[in-house]
Structure formats: C-alpha cells, structure tokens
Amino acid sequence: MADREQNDSDSSGGWLSAFAPIAGFGVTFATMFTKVVTEEYPEQKVPTAPRFHGRHQLNRHPDGLEKCVGCELCAWACPADAIYVEGADNTEEERFSPGERYGRVYQINYLRCILCGLCIEACPTRALTMTNEYEQLKGPTRAGLIFEKQDLLAPMLGGMIPAPHPMVPGTTEQDYYQGKVTQAVPEQQEWVDARTGDDEPAQEAHR
C-alpha cells in the first residue's frame, strides 16, 4: 500500500522525479554501510537458532531404554512420507523400550524430509525430537541419505546402558513416563553382563 502511494506520488511528478533514474544506486550505496549478513560457511560456522529444525534424534530413557514405541504416528504425520517405521514386540530376552512395543525398524529419508517438524509434534512419547545438526544431511548417494535407527538414536549419556535390557526392577511403563527412573541400576548391568557372557561373576548373579 505504502509503496503504491509512493509510486503514485512519483508518477504525479514533482522535483524528486528528477532523481528517479539514479534512485536505485542510492539503495546500493546505502547498503554498503549496513552490517553484512552473508556467512562465511563452511569456514566459519554460526550456531543455528535454538529451535532450528535439524536432523532428528531418537531419544532414550535415562537408563538407556529407547523411548520410541514404534507407533508410526510420526510417519502418519509426515507430509512428505519420509518416515518408515515397523513396530515389534518387546520380549523378556530382548527389551528395547518399556512396555509392550518398540520400533524395530526406523528410517528417515532425508531426500524427502522437509524438516517441518510435524513428526516431533506427533510423537506421543517425545522419542522423536530434532537436533540443531544439519551437516550430516548431505551426501552423494540415495542410500546414504536414508538414516536408519542406529544413525538417529541419541548418544549414550552417563547412567545409561544400551538396549536391549530389562526395565528397572519394580517399575512400570508409567514410572518411566513420570520420570521416576533416573538411571540404570546394577541389576540391569548384571543382566547385560550375563548376556554378553564376558563377566563370570555377573553371570552367576544372574542365575
């Protein structure tokens, strides 16, 4: 609206119209003195905005069990059909998440993903979030841009044991969601040791 009025006043004549042919240069000239927004990427890496939508991450509970329940709601929400999930049953021998179900196959195709974040809004367990990472999302092959579960899983932090392992003894699925589990307990470590079989005493304890 304002522009149009401006134009109108220009076209109506007046002494300013004499400068019209060089008015564009004025803009150029003025810009030379403003702050430069160009970033010297990749020589200089500027941190992204805190809520930047970067590569996804599949989070873990504090004891290392996975949060993803394989529900496919993220895949359902995805407008670009970039996510592929297959659920499966947790068993006594192989437990990946608290509760009955876990995500056995988890793939995000970054050739399709438009990083809109609808998937993380859909995720009922906060398993799926987005990181600020964007540099991995490039590559020469199609296969390389389909990220598998192991590429997306969050790093192990202190107090975590990689799944599969049992839940903290005496807890339920609810306790995990209510934040009552804060780290892995020795029983879980013993179970893992017994399974890997490289720790004789622990194996005894398991029996």
């Binding site: 394989g70 529900c71 496919e72 895949a75 509760g99």
Partner: protein
C-alpha cells in the same frame, strides 16, 4: 420359493420421523437401522447387524417420542438405546443431529466409557481404524472430568495362542461373547466378575480364583508331533460313563452334551480349545481389546493396501480383504459378502497365508543337470525348451499323465485340461489328489459338471432340513457350518449327519446322527431315517469328501434325492475342485461337463480349440496314472500342486515319480514332487495372481492379483510351454481361461450315465474312519505357529465296548496304536459313542499322518491295540 427370489409378499411398513424426516421402514426395524436408511449415523459399539441386539454399550442413545393412546405424541422421559428399540408408527426420533439431549447423553456415555480406557492408542493395533477412536473424536468431548486413578489390568492375556485380550481397553460391548455364542457356538470367552471389575475372559483359574484340573498351558511347536508321556495321562474317566449312555444307533445330541473330555478338548498348546472362528471376534471388537498375535504391531491401517481376495483353502470360497504392506501380505480379514460368507470366515482362511512366503519358495525355473543329477537354476526359455522337448518325447514314447491337484483356479485348471488334450493328446488328467473312485467320477459327470449355480448358501439357510453325508461341515467347509448353525438357531433347521460319531460340529448344530460304519454310507443313505431326514420339501443333501471311499454312496444319494425331491450338492474339500470339474480336468470329462465318450462333445471342443480331433479314449484316473507310471507304462508326468502324502498310496506315488522318465513339476514351493522332477517351473500363489475359484455352489469367485509379482500363474506357464511345444493354447492373460470356458458354455447333450451300483465291501473286524481337521499339518498352513497352536489335539476314538475289548479297564485312559502292514500311529484315546470295531483318526494332524503312514482311508481294515501292548483285533 427360494430366498434368492425377491419376496412378493408386501411387507408391513411403519412410518416414523427421524430428525424431522419421515421414513417408512419394514415393521420390526431397529431405530438405528431406520436412521441408517436416511444416512444418519448414530454412534454405536455393541450393535452389529448380524448379532442380536444387546444394548450393552449405551452409546446409541437418542430422544424418542411416541403417540400415546389418545394419539398425542409424548416424549419418553429418558433417552433410549436406538439399537434395541424397534420402529413403531408415528414415532418421533431425534438423534444427536437435532437434539441437544441426545447429544449430551452420547457425550456422557463416551466420557464414561473412556474413564477406564487406557488411551494407549499409540501402541494399539486398532489405532487408526478404531470405532472408539473415531467416535470419541466425532461424538465425544475433548476432555474428561475424571481425575482419579484408572483401573488397570496386566496387559494382554492370551486367550489362545492366536488371540490376545487387553482387558483395559475393553468397553464391555459383548460383541465378542455374543459372536461366540450366537454364531460360532464356542462360548470360549464370557463376561466375568461384576461392577468395575467386570471383564471378558476365558475360564481362567488365574482370574477367577478357582481350581481346575487342566494341564499347564504348554506352547508346543509344530515339530513336537508325538504326544508326550505326561500328556497321555490327562483326560478323564468321565469318557467311560458318558459314552456308555449313548449306545443307540441314532441319537440327538444337545449342544451342552459334549461327548468327550480330556485330550479331545484341548488344543495343540494345551489349552481348552478356543474356536475355529476366533479371528472374527478380533475383527468385530470395536476397540483394540482383542488383537491377533500374528498381526500384532505389524502395520498401521494407512500402511496397508487392501485388495479383494477369495480364500484358497476350502470350497466355500469366502470373500476376503487382503491387506499388504511393501509386497508382503500382513493380514487377511473376512470381507462382507451376504451371498457367501456374510461377514465371517474361519481362522484358517484368516491366518493361513504365510505358506507362500517360506524359505523354500521357488523363484527360478530348475532343470536337472544330467551330470550332477542336481536341480540347477536356469533361464525361463531354457527350462521351457527342456520341459517341452521332454514332454513331447515322453508323449510319443507312451504318454504323459497330468496331475494338476485340487487347488487351482478355474483358469489354471482349464489350461491343464487343454494342455493335456491339445499338446499331450491324452485324457490322462485327474485333479483328484486324494482318495477317489470311478463312481465319484461318473457322479461328477452326471450331476455336477456343467450344472452351473446349484444349491446356494441362501438356499441352504432356507432349507428346513439338511443331510450331511460324509461331510464334517465345521472341519471341511467352515462357512457352510456357520450358515447351517444360523438357521438351526433362527429357523429350527434339522441337521442330520451320516457319520460314525457325533462330531463337535454336529453337536453345535443340535444335529441327529445316523451312526454309520465307514464304508457303509450307501446303506445309511438308503435307511428310512435318511429318507425321513430330508422328506420336507426344500431339503438339501450335502455330499462330502468321504463318500468317495464308500462304494455305492453316490448312487444311493441320487436315489434318495429322486425319492424325496431333496436337492443334492457336492461339497469337495479343496478350493479348486469344483473349478477343475468344470474345466474338464478329469479323464472322462471335457470342459463344461462334456463327456469324452460323446463324439459330438469332442467335435464341439475340437472346433473351439482349433484342433483336428481330440483323444476319444477316456483317460486314466489318478490311481491308474500312478500305477502305470510306477510300472513303467507311462513315461511322463506333469504335476501341479500335489502332495503325494494326500494320495491314497503315498509310497506308490513316490515310486511313480521315481520311475517316470520325465517329470515336470509346477510348484510354488519346493516339495516332494519337485524333488523328483526333471524340470521345476515356479508358479504364483493366489496372492500373486488373479483368477477365479468356483466354490461348492458353482459360484464364480473372481479375485484380483494382490501383490506385484513376476511369478506366473500355472495357466501362463502352460501357455508358454505349449508354444514351445509348437501348439498354441491361446491362454495369455489373467482371465483368458475363464473367458474361453464361459464361451464354450454348458453341454446341452446327453450327460454322463449315472454311476453304477457297486457291491458293498464286506465289513472287516476293525475299520478305519478318518477325516481332516480344519487346522492340521496341511502344507497351506505352514509358517503360522500361532494358528497351529489352536488346532485340536489329535486323539484316536473308539467306542466304549471296543475300548473294553482292548483290555482297557473302565475309568482308565490310555493310548492306542492303529496299525496295518504299512506302519502304525499311536494317539491318546478318547472314548466316544460310535460303532464298535471302528477307530477314528484325524487324517493329517500332528502325530497322525494317516495316508502317509498307513496308506489307508475310510473303511480300510486296521489293527488296533493299546499302546505298548500285544496285537489285538483283526
């Protein structure tokens, strides 16, 4: 009049107003259906069109006003359940669309239903196709006032190896229990406890806190065939006492009078068996309370591509919905087909589809390397070249026998029939990969082939009486069983069965048994009882698979039908058999019921097929093909989906495959036949090809290809093979075979003569009786352990007197060994009221491969003894 004709009697109509719209509906219509007529959807859970109204969930509340005696329309004080109230004249109904009262009532009910619901939709299989989810969104309110702790139950309990129950999700609509009682007749689950603790469940001691003497449920793998010593001790002494009271020849068995206990009532996993129809409860559960172990967590509705399908198992031809994801079938559901299966199917049809995807699936043509003697993968052109050359050579050296098997689509069976006549120039073709007889063949030519749609499911339902001759409907054609049961309950149909003992299926039909020693069915069909059973006009006689082993039975059945006016229908066991009869895959029949022996029929077909003449000599049947091949008189064999262990003499069949100089096998998976073959040509399973099955009614059941696949159907392979052999079949394309067959039309000339009377076989001391169970060790049930766990445990059955004769003291249970010169089978014994001197074994259940081990069938003499005992009997 049959129910297929539109009813001419005017129906009483009542006129009422729903949401301000006037509508006239037949008297007795439920309000919820009347609203549907107008396109008004009232939310509901427990209501199901095929189940009796229950009014259990209260979701369908609407405001109703009715005229009183003076004719003033007065509103009822409270909202009413529209699924239980029938329409009456002048009624004024206001649904949630026009009445705030209804709307509030429905929202309130939804809030109540969700109070104890776990809302665990993300981990629930029903999520995305859940009536509770959908209606909570459409008719519920966004929030709940309930802030207290929800009632919880341990997640899920196993009702059978296949069905899982999550009680937290259940809304107690009782669709599942009503289905089990009203439709299947297996009350395997029921409502238990009261108030907030009310729940669906089995009679599980763990839940109900009582003590029973059932064995611990053991999940047995299909490998563990042999009964364990421990499992042999189970069972109950009640067998004896109950059995003794049933020693008359004919008796009516009430549904609550189960004749056996113990082993015979357990499934393979050691639980009291659930039901052959349990999958339907999963399908109709409006929430995710009942889920199937096989489909658990496999997919979401939006992942699935659905195609229509037709079940490839029995001859009922149930409509299916085949759901697949990424090139693999993930589940099958019963599709809605009122003319055939209504909305139900059996567990075999629902779950047995993994057989086609096993590791032994054939993907490439194989040709036997002359040097190494091994089958080597080769290209299609080379394999076809070798196969065609070999078959032509064998044809000229003495002939090729064709055994297509009984599981083909019409198109494929027709291709075999045409290939045999045109390329192999022979009538040596027989689809019957099972016990068979010349009498049966004559009967098929006389009364079945080319007769079109005969008795239908609707006629069967309307028939006042049905005689099952040598047919166990529940085991061998499950949808027939459901239809029969429906009209037994609703219309008081009388079911009579000619069998040695009253099976569970017959008991659930409140049927009458004409107790018959196997082999003597012809005599039973001639008895006054049989005539009385079908004397009411409109009665139907169903002829089952066992009659083929009973001399004179078809003759007797035709005579009975002629004498009483009852209609006859032939019910084979396999999905492809009726189609194969129609296609002419028999030694004495050309397509459309044309007899080979009729010159005019031959000319007819020769002209249509564009050949000079057709072989005039009737061909060899399965048994003769096998005998002649093993004697070296028939150098070539072309075999489709045939398992030698289904044939009357499996050892002879193996010898034939061994001796024949050139064997071509068309198979989906590596099999016994393909192991003997010189050329193996892989073909497509039903999910990977389109086609048509002809069900027992004679109804064309077309189905499209579900999965994208490069596999060729039998018909396409035979077409290519014929081209390679220098003859054209002209059967390219999915529907070419059925189109050509339809064009040939039915034979109007003289039909095959009715079967001749045969002399009855003399009864021997101990004879075998056997039939296949719905769930057994069949090849088409491979790869489905959850389903296998629900199969009935194999038991041997003898009469109380026979058991005593074996030296079994009253009140003791044990095992018996059934043997002949070929081998023996030992099974736990269930004492059953049945003729003395008869022992019954399931045909192909775990631990009981009757044909493979004994090479014996119905009416054959066997020797019986207590397991681990000296010989007794004949």
């Amino acid at each position: 009049m049959t129910v297929t004709e539109p009813s001419k009697t005017p129906v009483d109509l009542v006129t009422l107003t729903i949401d301000g719209i006037e509508v006239s509906v037949p008297k007795g219509t439920l309000l919820i259906r009347a609203a549907e007529e107008l396109g008004i959807a009232i939310p509901r859970f427990c209501d199901h069109p095929l189940l009796a109204p229950a009014g259990a969930c209260r979701q369908c509340l609407v405001e109703v006003a009715m005229p009183d005696r003076e004719g003033n329309v007065r509103p009822m004080p409270k909202p009413q359940a529209s699924c239980t109230m029938t329409a009456s004249p002048g009624m004024v109904v206001k649904t949630q669309l026009t009445s705030p009262v209804s709307e509030k009532a429905q929202r309130g009910v939804m809030e109540l239903l969700l109070i104890n619901h776990p809302l665990d939709c993300p981990v629930c299989d029903k999520g995305g196709e859940c009536p509770l989810q959908n209606q909570a969104m459409a008719n519920g309110q966004g929030s709940s006032r309930f802030t207290e702790v929800k009632r919880t139950f341990p997640k899920p309990i196993r009702i059978s190896t296949q069905v899982l129950l999550d009680r937290e999700r259940c809304i107690l609509c009782q669709r599942c229990t009503r289905f089990s009682k009203e439709i299947a007749g297996d009350p395997f689950i029921d409502l238990q406890m009261r108030g907030a603790k009310q729940q669906i469940g089995t009679f599980s001691p763990g839940v109900l806190n009582f003590h029973v003497d059932l064995p611990d449920p053991v999940v047995r793998t299909s490998e563990e065939l042999e009964p364990t010593p421990q499992s042999l001790q189970q069972g109950s002494s009640e067998d004896e006492s109950r059995g003794a009271s049933h020693e008359h020849a004919t008796g009516t068995y009430a549904a609550d009078n189960l004749t056996t206990t113990g082993q015979a009532l357990l499934d393979e996993s050691g639980q009291p068996f659930a039901s052959y129809f349990s999958g339907n409860t999963i399908q109709i559960c409006p929430v995710g309370a009942l889920t199937g172990a096989a489909y658990r967590f496999r997919a979401r509705p939006f992942d699935l591509v659905s195609t229509k399908g037709v079940c490839e198992h029995c001859s009922s031809g149930c409509a299916l919905r085949v759901d697949h994801r990424r090139g693999k079938v993930t589940r099958r559901l019963a599709a809605d087909d009122p003319a055939v299966n209504e909305e139900w199917n059996c567990d075999k049809g629902r779950w047995a589809f993994n057989w086609a995807t096993g590791a032994d699936r054939l993907t490439h043509p194989l040709v036997r390397d002359p040097e190494t003697g091994e089958l080597e993968p080769v290209s299609w052109p080379y394999a076809l070249q070798v196969a065609a050359a070999g078959l032509l050579k064998a044809r000229d050296a003495g002939g090729v026998g064709v055994l297509p098997g009984g599981r083909l689509t019409v198109e494929d069976a027709y291709a075999y029939a045409k290939f045999a006549r045109v390329v192999l120039r022979t009538n040596d073709i027989d689809f019957r990969a099972r016990a068979h007889s010349a009498e049966e063949e004559a009967f098929l030519g006389h009364a079945v082939a080319g007769t079109g749609l005969g008795v239908t499911f609707a006629e069967l339902e309307a028939a006042p009486a049905v005689l099952l001759a040598g047919l166990e409907a529940e085991e061998e054609a499950a949808s027939i069983f459901l239809r029969l049961r429906k009209s037994v309950l609703n219309k008081g149909k009388k079911v009579t069965s000619i069998a040695p003992w009253a099976s569970r299926g017959l008991i659930k039909l409140s049927g009458t048994l004409i107790q018959t020693v196997p082999g003597q069915e012809a005599a039973a069909l001639g008895t006054p009882e049989a005539a009385a059973a079908v004397s009411t006009p409109g009665s139907v006689i169903l002829l089952g698979p066992r009659l083929t082993e009973s001399s004179g039975a078809y003759q007797a059945a035709l005579a009975l039908a002629a004498a009483t006016g009852a209609k006859l229908a032939w019910v084979p066991r396999r999905a492809g058999e009726r189609g194969a009869v129609e296609a002419g895959a028999l030694p004495s029949l050309l397509p459309g019921g044309r007899p080979v022996s009729d010159a005019a029929a031959r000319v007819d077909i020769a002209a249509a097929w564009d050949v000079d003449s057709l072989p005039a000599q009737p061909g060899r049947d399965t048994a003769r093909i096998i005998d002649d091949a093993s004697a070296g008189l028939l150098p070539g064999l072309l075999v489709g989906g045939v398992d030698p262990d289904d044939l009357p003499d499996p050892a002879a069949a193996r010898a034939a495959l061994e001796t024949a100089s050139f064997v071509v096998s068309l198979e989906v998976r590596a099999s016994t036949v393909s192991a003997y073959a010189d050329v193996v040509l892989p073909v497509a399973p039903p999910a990977e090809k389109g086609g048509t099955f002809l069900n027992w009614e004679g109804r064309w059941r077309e189905f499209p290809q579900a999965l994208t696949s490069e596999a060729l159907s039998d018909g396409e392979v035979l077409d290519s093979l014929a081209s390679e052999a220098g003859e054209g079949l002209g059967l390219r394309g999915e529907k070419a075979g059925s189109a050509e067959l339809a064009q040939l039309g039915r034979w109007e000339g003289a039909r095959t003569e009715r079967p001749e009377a045969h002399t009855l076989a003399p009864a021997s001391a101990t004879v075998l009786s056997t039939w296949s169970m719905l769930l057994d060790k069949g090849r088409l049930q491979d790869g489905e352990p959850y389903l296998a766990g629900t199969a009935h445990r194999a038991v041997a059955r003898v009469s109380p007197a026979t058991a005593t004769g074996l030296g079994l003291a009253a009140g003791v249970t044990g095992s018996v060994t059934v043997s002949n010169d070929r081998g023996e089978i030992t099974l736990p014994l269930a004492i059953t009221p049945m003729p003395d001197g008869v022992v019954w074994l399931p045909s192909n259940s775990p631990g009981s491969p009757v044909r493979a081990r004994l090479a014996a069938g119905n009416g054959d003499p066997v020797v019986l003894r207590l397991a681990g005992d000296a010989l007794m009997g004949a």
